[in-house]
């Protein structure tokens, strides 16, 4: 049956005023001068268990009897597999099975966007670390011996380790359809005319490299049989329902034969979106084949060497502006390095393409993108999803234009930023929720920007200030329909169970949902328990990515809460003997607003609900408003809404050592509506830190497809000593009309804006531009020497 998406567009099917936008619906429905919990700082419901060490992550669930699943991997970067010899390994005591591609009962395919990625390779390997077999062992020693005993006969092929080599016509093909996995395009206005009307034109090339997530918890999955025709997997992911779909396909089973339980996850940042299904499938294959509990837990080195990283990308930019400081045209060529598999590359590249002008209005735009395979480790999801690299380039272009025009970089941005009524890169008219101008002005004041326009030289140090802006489309790209779901159950004692497939990864999104639910129900926040996502009972909320967890998932939560509220109010009105309008609920009591003497606790209402045979549960569903998009020009309503951010950084450069210190940061973000300011601040701080790491220190070193520094020791991430002073983040609230309370996603924009802010501050301090990252002390030192500073 073809689903008519139109029927999903309106979020409500019951007794609320459908002519109103969602955030107005809630305002009108609740009619409160001040919200009870929304906008307040509360202690997260998961904080105590995490502080007590009682929070369980995947590896904490393992039974002692569990088999070890170890992945046997390719040591070649590009080769044909002629033969896989496992018989010697099979005879090692303690080895229960060696699983290869031929043992996969279902479809041997795990590719996300394109079917180019077998779960286990038996014909060809595409990078060092490509999986070939699963060793299922009773202990580590046996697994190690088996690893040394599996023999692969390879026929080596020429490898390509960079995008230019991959694009060479003589280059070997990594996959059958050529080394270009996908292309994108935007054509808006008249690019020739735009450049003709430009008084200044800046052309430059930028390279944004790999970044490793360095989630503190390593990847893991633990699978055990549930009878003979069902497998349960406890694992980390960002979408338990996607994991279920992939695992079921690999096992050749129905969806209801696979149960995925999402364990608490020790940081994800995009990584677990990609690794979740893979590790779950490994563990599940062993559990199904052997009928025994099986665990696949990576160590740090394996995780670093073999799992997806931030996709590298090259940008060739040409940007023009007229003498009055108005942007006139941009032309951009993007080449994304996929690595061995496309994985998320089409979506990543599209996001870069669709945001190519930055958060500015430019009438004439031409963008061409392509994603190219190489024999390096493959790329994948990572906070900022394409937009970090893109803004690293576009925000330097903007800065360069401003300096070229002798304009203050902040004033130049203010003149060109998107405003209500502006058109985006993709010609999407923004009719509301555009807070970038306010973001900029707020940090201009907070940082006293105008007083900091002259860099300061003090002995061996140079101090400078720079600015970076960002915008990031929430939810799916290219107007792909997006929806989310949630469920809420009132127990007979007046407590609630809330279910969402939006995962707790540290960001606290599910707690934000619960605050929305508590606000709408007037329930005690402690009375609502979040069930850990379990595909046997949790609705499919779609993934926890794309800045959609709270914006989409939280609005589905609101939908469920509104339905249940209606029933609670109805019963309360009868019990209180007053009209529906007079009933208010607070702290899990219902009362008559005009007669506060009588209060009915929620447990009595819950009992009455059950006695009267009213359904004590609600299934919430929310779909984005319908969007459209033209394939030919790339124009249309690509994203439902955008989150905006701007950040100012103060940096100090030591001219003797080249060492760069970020001294202070002033962040701002248009969050739509702050459901929990302290959690948002935490998101901003964490993103700033990862951005500082990416800009100044994190450096994945690759040589012929080999990663040379796969550890915390050699891949340096920020420690407490790398924490700058951070001014109180300024939260602008330009509500989004179609989400609960107006929320927008907040996890990603700060990492996007901090990177150019630092790079532009370094330029301000030293007069040196860097077109690639990281800007290590060594590189800085060398650059200073060249300009003799």
């Amino acid at each position: 049956m073809k689903i008519n998406l139109k029927t999903f567009v309106l979020p409500f099917q019951y007794n609320v005023d459908k002519s109103l936008e969602y955030y107005k619906i809630l305002e009108k429905l609740l009619n409160r001068n001040e919200y009870f919990v929304v906008g307040k700082n509360l202690i997260r419901s998961d904080a105590l268990d995490k502080c007590l060490g009682k929070a369980n992550f995947t590896a904490d669930y393992l039974s002692k009897e569990s088999l070890i699943v170890k992945v046997f991997r390719s040591c070649k970067s590009h080769a044909i597999i002629k033969n896989i010899e496992t018989s010697r390994a099979m005879n090692i005591p303690g080895i229960e099975a060696i699983i290869t591609a031929r043992d996969i009962p279902g479809i041997n395919q795990i590719g996300y966007a394109l079917p180019d990625q077998p779960l286990l390779n038996d014909t060809k390997v595409h990078y060092i670390g490509d999986p070939i077999a699963l060793i299922c062992a009773q202990n580590e020693e046996a697994a190690q011996k088996a690893e040394e005993s599996i023999l692969i006969e390879y026929e080596e092929l020429k490898s390509v380790f960079d995008i230019s080599a991959a694009l060479n016509p003589d280059s070997p093909l990594i996959h059958t359809d050529g080394n270009v996995a996908v292309t994108t395009k935007i054509r808006k206005g008249n690019i020739e005319k735009g450049f003709k009307n430009s008084n200044v034109i800046i052309e430059d090339t930028y390279w944004s490299p790999y970044q490793e997530h360095m989630c503190l918890e390593t990847d893991g999955a633990y699978a055990f049989p549930d009878g003979t025709n069902k497998i349960t997997v406890i694992c980390e992911s960002q979408s338990p329902h996607l994991v279920r779909e992939k695992v079921a396909a690999i096992l050749g089973w129905k969806l209801n034969q696979v149960r995925i339980i999402q364990a608490l996850t020790g940081g994800a940042f995009g990584k677990k979106d990609d690794t979740g299904p893979i590790l779950a499938a490994y563990a599940a294959l062993s559990a199904k084949t052997l009928g025994k509990p099986s665990a696949c837990i990576y160590d740090r080195i394996e995780m670093f060497k073999t799992t997806p990283k931030r996709f590298p990308a090259k940008f060739i930019y040409k940007s023009g502006a007229d003498k009055n400081g108005n942007l006139t045209a941009i032309q951009v060529y993007i080449t994304l390095e996929c690595g061995a598999y496309a994985n998320r590359a089409p979506f990543w590249l599209w996001r870069q393409t669709a945001h190519a002008a930055g958060p500015y209005e430019v009438d004439n735009v031409a963008v061409d993108g392509r994603a190219v395979y190489t024999n390096n480790v493959y790329g994948g999801s990572f906070r900022g999803f394409g937009n970090l690299a893109l803004h690293f380039a576009v925000e330097q272009q903007i800065d360069k234009l401003a300096y070229e025009l002798c304009m203050d970089p902040l004033d130049f941005r203010l003149k060109n930023v998107l405003k209500v009524g502006s058109r985006t890169t993709c010609d999407q008219i923004l009719d509301h929720s555009v807070g970038i101008e306010k973001c900029l002005k707020s940090i201009e004041d907070a940082s006293k920007w105008k007083e900091k326009r002259v860099p300061i030289k003090n002995g061996n140090t140079l101090k400078g200030w720079g600015i970076g802006c960002a915008y990031h489309g929430n939810s799916t790209s290219r107007s792909t329909p997006d929806w989310s779901a949630a469920s809420l159950l009132m127990n007979i004692d007046g407590s609630f169970i809330y279910r969402t497939g939006i995962c707790e990864l540290g960001q606290g999104s599910p707690f934000g949902h619960v605050k929305i639910v508590a606000e709408i129900l007037g329930a005690n926040i402690e009375s609502i328990k979040i069930e850990i996502p379990d595909t046997d009972s949790t609705p499919d909320s779609k993934p926890t990515h794309g800045s959609r967890g709270l914006m989409m998932g939280g609005t589905a939560a609101a939908d469920a809460a509104i339905q249940l509220r209606e029933k609670i109010i109805k019963i309360a009105a009868e019990m209180l003997d007053c009209s529906l309008k007079l009933v208010e609920c607070k702290e899990s009591y219902a009362y008559n607003k005009e007669n506060l003497n009588k209060k009915i606790p929620f447990n009595e209402i819950a009992e009455e609900l059950h006695i009267r045979g009213l359904n004590p549960g609600a299934y919430g569903f929310y779909a984005s408003p319908k969007r459209n998009y033209d394939e030919e020009t790339g124009l249309g309503i690509n994203y439902s809404v955008y989150t905006f951010a701007s950040t100012i950084a103060e940096v100090e450069v030591d001219t003797e050592t080249g060492e760069i210190s970020v001294l202070k940061i002033w962040p701002s973000m248009d969050v739509g509506k702050a459901i929990d300011p302290i959690i948002i601040e935490g998101q901003i701080h964490g993103a700033l830190s990862q951005g500082i790491g990416f800009t100044l220190m994190e450096n994945v070193q690759l040589h012929n497809g080999n990663i040379l520094n796969p550890s915390f020791k050699d891949y340096i991430v920020p420690s407490a000593f790398d924490t700058p002073e951070v001014d109180d983040p300024i939260l602008i609230e330009e509500a989004y009309k179609h989400s609960a309370f107006g929320v927008k996603g907040v996890g990603e924009p700060s990492i996007i804006s901090i990177v150019p802010a630092i790079v532009n501050a370094i330029y301000h301090a030293t007069g040196i531009r860097f077109n690639t990252l990281p800007i290590t002390a060594e590189r800085m030192h060398k650059a200073l020497k060249e300009v003799k500073k």
Binding site: A47, D49, L216, E217, L264, T265, G266, G506, G682, S711
Partner: protein, 153 residues
């Protein structure tokens, strides 16, 4: 072999190659001690050995014979740890929670010996505990806040 674990004497069969981390997790079920790198670099496996914070992945189990090992589980009722924990929760210093037990133990050790630390001293105390979520800002704030809460001796 015998050692003191969270205030109680315990015995175990000595395995020379077994790390304290694996001993605590696998033999004593103390999963609050986390394995983030197994190379002594991330601090998620921090425990107190005779009161001093150490990476339990770098200690071989025979080394703890006759010593005092404290994990977060052993301090759940400790007044200083309760203040520190409350400060972490109220200041938003907890995100994914994977580094939290180790971070709390390093911070506890600091405040136990120095009730009025400077920001630099806090940073020094938690330098070996990597947190990828918070950017440390709220963790540092929380430790300083806990110092204010407990006050001078």
């Amino acid at each position: 072999m015998i050692f003191e674990l969270n205030g109680k004497n315990v015995s175990f069969e000595a395995i020379p190659s077994l790390t304290l981390l694996d001993l605590l997790r696998n033999e004593f079920g103390l999963t609050s001690v986390k394995k983030g790198c197994d190379q002594g670099e991330c601090g998620a496996c921090t425990v107190l050995l005779d009161g001093m914070p150490v990476n339990s992945c770098l200690i071989l189990s025979p080394q703890v014979e006759g010593k005092r090992v404290t994990t977060i589980d052993g301090l759940s009722e400790n007044p200083l740890m309760i203040e520190l924990r409350d400060a972490f929760m109220e200041n938003g210093a907890v995100q994914c929670g994977f580094c939290t037990p180790g971070m709390l133990l390093s911070s506890y050790s600091l405040l136990r010996d120095n009730r009025n630390p400077t920001e630099e001293e806090v940073k020094m105390a938690i330098e070996g505990n990597i947190c990828r979520c918070t950017g440390y800002v709220k963790i540092i704030e929380a430790v300083l806040d806990a110092a204010v809460r407990i006050g001078p001796d």
